[in-house]
Point group: C2
């Protein structure tokens, strides 16, 4: 009994299932069969809607990225001062969501994919540019012309801290990560006015 308009439902189900399976496996070593099964359909249907495995993966990455983007926008909307803007970006970047196993796994494998798959590389660029733009905007009032290079450094620091926290033994602590980046920035900004 084919109900019409299934395409978006099936596609989101597949994307969610893909992210869950990547989290379970810790890698992209996931079969279309596993994804389809978790999404409650046949492998043939998964192929029907996405055409191939790589496109399923890319859709999943796009989804992760859009979740992160929404989180940042949401936090940013309520921020009035530059300091609040910065904190909003950091809180969103180190939120509990981003430390969930599936999300960590997605990001790490995203980096691997970005080496060779043009689509993944493009998505990574989108993330990096957006982060850089947000940081520059927030830092401009404090750092003026020094904002762009400082944003570069803070962006790298965020990625590095995330990487370490995500791969640490203990359950990841977003608050500590935020504090670390903030203390770095505090000194850095103080330095500017000397």
């Amino acid at each position: 009994m084919p109900k019409l308009g299934m395409e978006p439902i099936r596609k989101t189900a597949l994307v969610k299932a893909t992210i869950m399976e990547i989290g379970r496996a810790g890698s992209l070593d996931v079969t279309v069969g596993q994804i389809a099964k978790r999404a409650g359909m046949s492998t043939a249907l998964a192929h029907h809607y996405f055409g191939g495995k790589e496109q399923i993966f890319l859709a999943a990455m796009r989804h992760i990225l859009s979740l992160y983007g929404a989180e940042v926008r949401g936090a940013l909307a309520a921020a009035r001062t530059p300091e609040a803007r910065l904190e909003a970006i950091l809180l969103a970047s180190f939120s509990a969501t981003n430390f969930r196993r599936e999300v960590v796994s997605a990001w790490l494998n995203f980096y691997v994919l970005a080496q060779t798959v043009p689509g993944a590389r493009r998505l990574l660029r989108v993330y990096q540019r957006r982060l850089h733009a947000n940081l520059t905007h927030a830092l401009r009032p404090m750092a003026g012309a020094g904002a762009p290079p400082l944003a570069e450094a803070v962006g790298a620091l965020i990625d590095g801290v995330y990487l370490r926290e995500a791969l640490s033994e203990r359950p990841s602590d977003g608050r500590a990560s935020v504090a670390m980046v903030q203390s770095y920035l505090a000194t850095e900004l103080k330095g500017l006015s000397i």
Copy 2:
């Protein structure tokens, strides 16, 4: 015509071939057959010496790590002042070697593997501890008791800068990476004495 004492020769050949193949594929999606072929032997022999695919991968990771360690030690040996120590660590971390395609690929996949394979996680810990110890030692004269947490931040910054540089479009520029971390440190250390 079996010459004796082949084991170490075969093993190093396999490790090198593994790293090259990982670089070629950009992932761990590499067959034992490809590795064995590049190393000039049969798949059966690869299994004979290593027992399985995972052990080949771990040996390759160990090799990458030992190369990096040797590079750091070499640079550190010549450094007399704390500043020179720091620079040595940075130069080694952002050397051309570490930006070669195979090495980048090995590191990225290493992170992925560290999520699920205990052996890989252990190796990652070794790298992190060693870096932290080296940084703390170099920073102690300048930062005193503040050295350990500062070393933590610098370590994360190094990883983050490496990640970005390794995945950037343009050929990676080690010198710029070193400069970025150094300028961060300069401000940070100046801040301490205020």
